[in-house]
Subunit: 197 residues, 2 copies
Amino acid sequence: MDERMAKQLAFALELDKEKNVFRQTHLSGQGRNENDAEHAWHMAIMAYLLKEYANEDVDIAKVMIMCLIHDIVEIDAGDTYAYDPEGLATQKAREEAAKERIFSMLPEDQKEEFTALFDEFEAYETAESKFAHAMDNFQPLILNNSNGGGDWKEHGCDAKSVYGRQSKTKLGSEKLYEITDKIIRENINKGSLKPGD
Amino acid sequence: MDERMAKQLAFALELDKEKNVFRQTHLSGQGRNENDAEHAWHMAIMAYLLKEYANEDVDIAKVMIMCLIHDIVEIDAGDTYAYDPEGLATQKAREEAAKERIFSMLPEDQKEEFTALFDEFEAYETAESKFAHAMDNFQPLILNNSNGGGDWKEHGCDAKSVYGRQSKTKLGSEKLYEITDKIIRENINKGSLKPGD
């Protein structure tokens, strides 16, 4: 085996560790916590399924690969809950170090390619990034909603912080944001989410 | 919400169940059994990562979505181990019924689209299908190999049946089949896999 393929296969095996990074979201049916690999898989199919609702035309292959790899850094940095201010304060530095270590396993050209895709997702500027982020918000939202908003209840989340994150869905999809807003309001009304300010 | 979106979101939530379908393959590091969603996620990234080794040019978006959805029918039909003759005998009928039920949750045009992608994968004829199948073989192979061939040992597999399945990898990628053959030989040599005929 040549060095290039050896590096690619070492990276492929390293990916396996993402299946052991567990999130705060629970599977439907009041199931166990979801892991990052499952979340990314679900997001990528939803991106394909719901692409007609993207605000702009998107390169769906790029959206899918962004969805699939967007949490790779959590192999080292762990999952940071979207509504955890302390974790969020150190998240950037932890994830930068992880990105460098993990993508450096690849041949140089693919290190550049994967890093660029990861950075494009993070930058929230392109149509593909905005729609992939909409999936990153919307996928856990439908699971949490199917469980009566249990993840919000568990963390005592308020509507202000949830809107702070979820309102960015509209950058990727106005249509999916309409549903998001409806789901948030319903969860406030039934007491799963504190109204906040 | 209109009927079209309601159907799409019901399908999106149904997908979640695939995370509870466990396979015979174990995660690296002698970990737990892998589930279908994790397997599909891993395959789709590997397809993108290793696309330079496809025998023919492939539409990578199509390969990725095929990888992501190829086990959806197992939500109803369960996982059938690749080296289980009894399970394999009834697999087709179980999966056909599941395919009809699950894809019928979608709007008609998307039912047709997803069914066509699923059938194209199963038919093993197009370049995309052949390369996606190569990932379906190669992804569990590298996990199993990282665990010293433990999945083969557990099931007492012999080289003939393993070659029967894995040799089809060469239809999608001669290069990855060379590695596959090397891994199989190493596992025979160290006694993880019975030599067979």
